[in-house]
């Protein structure tokens, strides 16, 4: 009965759907335009052109899946994918581990916390180009780390990741983690500071050791923080480009190529836009494939919590 009444009266009073929240909608116009025109529009444009034979200029002469067939039979693309997978996996694991460990160490009520935190965070202020250059210089076998260790008397010491095609991706990883782990440390530290002090006390009364408390109690509590961190790390991984260009430029040979570099070089150096678009479409597809389950978990999970 009461339901009936409200059904009758509500629509009469409620303004037209479109005009509800009018200011909010007007204020969101920049966001909506960006989302639709730039991101949806731009990617659609890219995807459409990936089915063409565009060269230097975008053209709409469709060639079906030719670009994709060529893409997946190109060794350089396959190497790029493999490199990104290795880099991505290691980078996620190491950045999270290092970021969390450092944050945990800083959270142990230590002295000089500010100093240490600044040291870990400052690389984030530097661009990837700068990062790549500095590490290229340090890892240079003739002037850098390898030579220094050899000068100390360890003549056979060999550490030249940038010149060894088997481990070059780890040379890039060293620099990537150097640049990015500070921010993650900062986020983790903020997350740790948000944990109720009483939880720590309860664990101490229960006789749980520090490490075990972190592993069994604190880390599970920080799930949202880890998710935020993962999104940030992942978005950086997929865009990996400047660092590689500055540090190795894909070398030695093509052993440190990455997908973003493939995209850009085929678009601009090889002047085969469609090939570049096909590669970037593949990257986009993998992003969507990874992100949609995440979004589902994140937003679905929140409703339950």
């Amino acid at each position: 009965m009461s339901d009936h009444v409200s059904e009758q009266s509500a629509p009469a009073k409620r303004p037209v759907q479109l005009f509800r929240n009018m200011s909010a909608k007007i204020a969101s116009i920049p966001m909506i335009l960006t989302a639709l025109v730039v991101f949806v529009g731009g990617t659609t444009w890219t995807v459409v052109h990936s089915f063409t034979s565009s060269r230097l200029l975008p053209k709409l002469d469709f060639v079906g899946l030719d670009q994709y067939e060529r893409l997946w039979s190109t060794p350089r693309w396959l190497i790029s994918i493999e490199n990104l997978a290795i880099y991505g996996l290691c980078s996620m694991i190491l950045t999270l581990t290092i970021g969390f460990t450092l944050a945990a160490l800083l959270d142990r009520k230590i002295r000089f916390e500010n100093t240490f935190r600044t040291i870990f965070l400052y690389p984030f202020a530097l661009s990837f180009v700068v990062t790549g250059l500095a590490w290229q210089w340090i890892l240079n076998p003739d002037f850098g780390l390898q030579q220094v260790v050899r000068d100390w008397g360890w003549e056979s010491f060999a550490f030249d990741p940038l010149n060894n095609s088997k481990i070059v991706i780890f040379g890039i990883l060293i620099a990537g983690i150097w640049q990015g782990s500070g921010l993650i440390m900062c986020i983790m530290l903020a997350g740790l500071r948000g944990i109720d002090e009483d939880i720590w006390k309860a664990a101490r009364v229960d006789g749980i050791g520090t490490v075990k408390t972190y592993l069994r109690v604190i880390i599970p509590m920080m799930r949202p923080v880890f998710i935020t961190s993962l999104v940030l790390i992942a978005s950086g991984i997929i865009k990996l480009y400047d660092l590689v260009v500055a540090q190795t430029n894909g070398g030695p040979g093509i052993s440190s190529e990455v997908p973003a570099k493939y995209v850009i070089e085929y678009m601009f150096r090889a002047q085969n836009l469609a090939q570049g678009f096909a590669a970037s479409t593949m990257m986009l597809v993998s992003v969507v494939v990874i992100l949609i389950p995440w979004a589902y978990l994140e937003f679905g999970g929140r409703k339950r919590g």
Binding site: I138, S235, M283
Partner: protein
């Protein structure tokens, strides 16, 4: 009390300054600090050496003879094409690009985040999801669509166009930060303001803005860093007269012919990184607090 003379431990539990725990803790921290400081050290040391010394020595050895020639050269003498006035040419250009870009991108993103937190409307979450996926797209693949877009709205080659591009690409992460932050502001406050008759903008300016200082600091730091370090957009969407500092840096560092002047490269690198670095060093604590507010909650 009776038994004052009760024996046994008394006072604080004795702590050894060099307990295993402390050695592990500080040892790890110091070791890791070396890893983080090494590149900075190398850059500074290299920038203070002369070229002959660089060729002979290793990268870690301190300069035998300190010279600031590389710094002078990087700042005011290094050539970009035929203009030999170093990085100084780009510094003010960078500032002119930086300020409107940072202001506009933060203004837009904060309003977005505010609308997404307290004024959700049908479809707002969808647009937000698209925005977040947009954060994963490598900028370079969007160059052509953006060029076409800017051409259509007549902002190609204009400072306004560049500001717009920075606003667009800064939007995903900043909106996320602001949305999370505003969501954590109690709903009651928002409701109270509505009962008091405040509307969308009234609440934004009088309630939300004054409470959002920490997250504005984070947004500002992220944007200053990102925009200051940007090369790609800066070089495509401006003209030689207004090229940012990073273009000069690229020219100094990437000159493929001739001898590589590592000392000048390093000095130029440090000079270019100075603005974001100073901002980081100056606002370390605020940054952590803001991150706590924007990234962790929600």
């Amino acid at each position: 009390m009776v038994d004052v003379a009760m024996s046994g431990p008394r006072g604080p539990k004795p702590k050894k300054a060099f307990s295993t725990r402390n050695i592990m803790l500080y040892g790890t921290l110091i070791l890791v600090s070396v890893y983080y400081l090494l590149p900075l050290y190398v850059m500074i040391v290299t920038s203070l050496k002369g070229m002959p010394e660089i060729r002979l020595g290793n990268v870690f050895s301190p300069p035998l003879e300190i010279t600031t020639a590389a710094w002078t050269k990087a700042w005011s003498e290094a050539c970009t094409g035929i203009n030999c006035d170093g990085l100084s040419r780009g510094f003010w250009n960078s500032v002119q690009i930086l300020i409107p870009s940072v202001v506009l991108s933060i203004a837009v993103a904060s309003v977005n985040g505010y609308a997404l937190s307290h004024w959700k409307f049908k479809g707002s979450e969808l647009f937000f999801t698209i925005l977040i996926i947009g954060a994963f797209i490598p900028y370079q693949t969007m160059l052509y669509p953006i060029v076409i877009l800017l051409r259509e709205i007549g902002l190609m080659g204009d400072l306004g166009g560049l500001v717009l591009v920075h606003t667009v690409f800064g939007m995903p992460i900043l909106t996320l930060l602001f949305r999370n932050y505003f969501t954590s502001i109690p709903e009651e406050l928002f409701k109270a303001a509505r009962v008091d008759g405040a509307r969308f903008w009234g609440i934004y300016f009088r309630i939300m803005l004054p409470m959002a200082l920490p997250i504005f600091v984070v947004a500002m730091i992220l944007q200053v860093t990102g925009i200051w370090n940007d090369f790609l957009f800066g070089v495509i969407y401006t003209k030689p007269d207004t090229y940012p500092m990073t273009v000069q840096l690229n020219n100094i560092v990437n000159s493929v012919q001739g001898v590589k002047e590592y000392n000048v490269n390093m000095a130029a690198t440090l000079l270019t990184g100075l603005v974001p670095l100073v901002i980081y060093f100056a606002s370390g604590k605020l940054f952590v607090r803001g991150i706590a507010a924007g990234a962790v909650k929600g």
